[in-house]
């Protein structure tokens, strides 16, 4: 009996809708789902997002309520992760701190995307003087190291979580301008874009219909990885006292305080760092997984 040279397996989804499953986005999703480390990243990120969202309804103490009778208490049944130098519950501050960290990560990247992608599209698509000016400004901003730039901006804008997010967002913008510009340059030279121009489609329509969708995948990967960088940057700024201001909880400011009580209360320093590490690892794993899934060479 003749056997097929290559066994062909059709899963239920493909069998149900073979045309749909052949679409690139479905292929990417299927590949992404098989990426175990990306899935682990997704689980970590989802966990922290959920924690941040449900913080107000969790049965935990007020994160800013001081208790002078429970100053620097080791982990116990009453305070699972111990208390800090003002008797505040470390677990509660950790849970509420997730809001500040995730908010900073997402808002900073939204700012960077909001400025970076349009500017990159304009520079790449229109070229000429517009491109020269935008590109030179991008190079200038890229010349200043990310953290130094963020610290300088946060210092001049004034210490607060909002200003830290603005500072991180501005510092991260040049990467998105450069990435988008590069993508636009390669996509704009494609035959289908030339054809769209030839049939007289308007520039906004070409940008929206043909350029943007092809530019977005690598930008999405970069955005995911930049959320990780932004979370570390926010923690760094808060650690230096330039981000979230006391008494509001943030992982960076918790570490700043903890370093003064390493001998007496080491638990104060342990958990905020573990939380930053896990959430950043989650976004890095997600970003790596997305990059692999979206890489056409991997198909």
């Amino acid at each position: 009996m003749a056997q097929p040279a290559t066994p062909v397996t059709i899963d239920a989804e493909s069998a149900a809708d073979p045309v749909l499953s052949a679409r690139p986005e479905n292929r990417v999703w299927k590949k992404f789902r098989k990426h175990r480390s990306a899935m682990l990243g997704g689980v970590l990120v989802t966990f922290f997002v959920l924690i941040a969202l449900v913080a107000p309804i969790l049965p935990i103490p007020d994160p800013v309520a001081t208790d002078w009778g429970a100053v620097r208490k080791a982990p116990s049944a009453a305070h699972w992760l111990g208390t800090d130098e003002l008797g505040r519950d470390v677990l509660s501050r950790l849970v509420w701190g997730a809001q500040a960290s995730l908010l900073a990560g997402v808002v900073s990247v939204a700012i960077a995307l909001g400025f970076g992608v349009p500017l990159g599209i304009i520079a790449g698509y229109f070229g000429g003087w517009t491109d020269a000016i935008i590109s030179r400004c991008t190079e200038a901003l890229l010349a200043a190291p990310f953290l130094i730039l963020a610290i300088a901006l946060a210092a001049f804008l004034g210490p607060s979580l909002t200003n830290a997010m603005i500072a991180i967002g501005i510092s991260a913008t040049p990467v998105f301008i450069r990435l988008t510009r590069g993508q636009v340059l390669s996509v704009a030279a494609e035959d289908y874009v030339e054809s769209a121009r030839a049939i007289g489609l308007s520039t906004p329509r070409i940008l929206r219909r043909y350029i943007l969708p092809n530019v977005l995948p690598p930008v999405l990967v970069q955005a995911t990885l930049t959320v990780a960088t932004a979370i570390i940057a926010e923690a760094s700024l808060s650690f230096l006292g330039l981000g979230q201001q006391p008494p509001s909880p943030s992982w960076g400011s918790m570490l700043n305080t903890a370093k003064n009580f390493l001998n007496q209360a080491p638990w104060m320093a342990l958990w905020p760092g573990v939380a930053i590490f896990l959430v950043v690892l989650g976004f890095n794993l997600l970003g790596d997984g997305l990059r692999d899934a979206l890489d056409p060479r991997e198909h």
Partner: protein, 314 residues
């Protein structure tokens, strides 16, 4: 080669001008009247006017910029409000400390990152490769200030092996200087080692699949020689370029490391300046770092050409 370097220097000039405009604009972001900040408690209008005249704040903004950049080109970046010292002098005092820290961090990163990258590429798809990747990604995800705190807790507080903080100049006592710097350099070098490992792995994987490596193996060369002489030498070009670029990142990364280990370097200077509202120092640091970064970029480009025989001939 000389014309290539000159061309790169010329290309860098507009970037430096734009950075200077950006750094100058930073000061204009300050809320309120800068003279009021300088005068402190003093509210006498005559004093305020005197300060305005002295710092030429009544001039139009473009004139103020040209005065500032003219002074900067002559090495005058202003005076620190806190120490009353010239900013450039302050930076020159602190920079060697940070360069020592960054150089030691770079040595750690190279010693860990490159062998791990080579090993991971050679053992691609094995458990060794998987572990190396997990460790590298963890290295990228650990906030270095937390790693510093944890190491102080374990190595200094619990085991009492290394000092938790401080600085001894290299010229004073080299052994003590290096001993004190080991922990901060390791902390600063961790993320860099992870980045280098990932890039070395990727560069090696590209080279290991090439025809000349296959030919070297077909000639019967020992695998070690194939990897180190044929593959690694060709994978080295992007790694050297990256190393030059990352040195600038190290200077920036030193900000937090110096803060944790109380090292009186460039990073501590910027943090102190920020908290003392010593904006001339902050501006000076951003400008000097950015120009240094451009210089490292230039070095990276030159190294790239020097290491690549085909580009060298062009």
């Amino acid at each position: 080669m000389l014309s290539f370097i000159l061309r790169r220097v010329v290309i860098a000039i507009p970037t430096i001008i734009l950075i200077s405009i950006f750094v100058f604009t930073l000061q204009k972001l300050l809320p309120g009247d800068p003279v009021l900040a300088m005068a402190g408690e003093e509210r006498d209008p005559q004093v305020l006017e005197f300060l305005r005249e002295k710092y030429r704040l009544n001039d139009p903004i473009p004139v103020q910029y040209f005065t500032w950049i003219g002074n900067a080109l002559r090495g005058d970046l202003g005076i620190s409000l806190r120490t009353n010292q010239p900013v450039l002098e302050l930076i020159a005092q602190k920079l060697p400390v940070t360069i020592q820290l960054a150089a030691m961090a770079m040595i750690f990163a190279l010693l860990i990152g490159i062998p791990a990258g080579i090993f991971s590429a050679v053992k691609k798809g094995t458990i060794v490769d998987y572990i190396a990747n997990v460790v590298a990604l963890s290295g990228l995800s650990i906030p270095n200030f937390w790693l510093g705190i944890m190491l102080i807790l374990l190595v200094s507080v619990k085991w009492k092996l290394l000092p938790a903080s401080g600085y001894v100049p290299l010229s004073e006592d080299p052994v003590r200087s290096i001993t004190v710097m080991i922990m901060p350099a390791f902390v600063l070098g961790t993320a860099l080692a992870a980045t280098l490992m990932r890039h070395t792995r990727s560069a090696m994987l590209g080279v290991l699949n090439s025809d000349y490596v296959r030919t070297a193996r077909a000639k019967g060369l020992v695998e070690r020689r194939v990897i180190l002489k044929h593959a690694f030498r060709n994978a080295l070009t992007p790694i050297v370029t990256l190393t030059a670029l990352l040195f600038g990142e190290l200077i920036a990364g030193a900000v937090l490391t110096e803060q944790i280990f109380t090292i009186p370097g460039f990073g501590k200077l910027v943090v102190d300046a920020v908290f003392n509202r010593d904006y001339a120092v902050v501006q000076g640091i951003v400008l000097v770092t950015a120009v240094g970064f451009i210089f490292m970029n230039l070095l990276a480009d030159v190294a790239y050409v020097l290491l690549n025989p085909r580009l060298r001939k062009q």
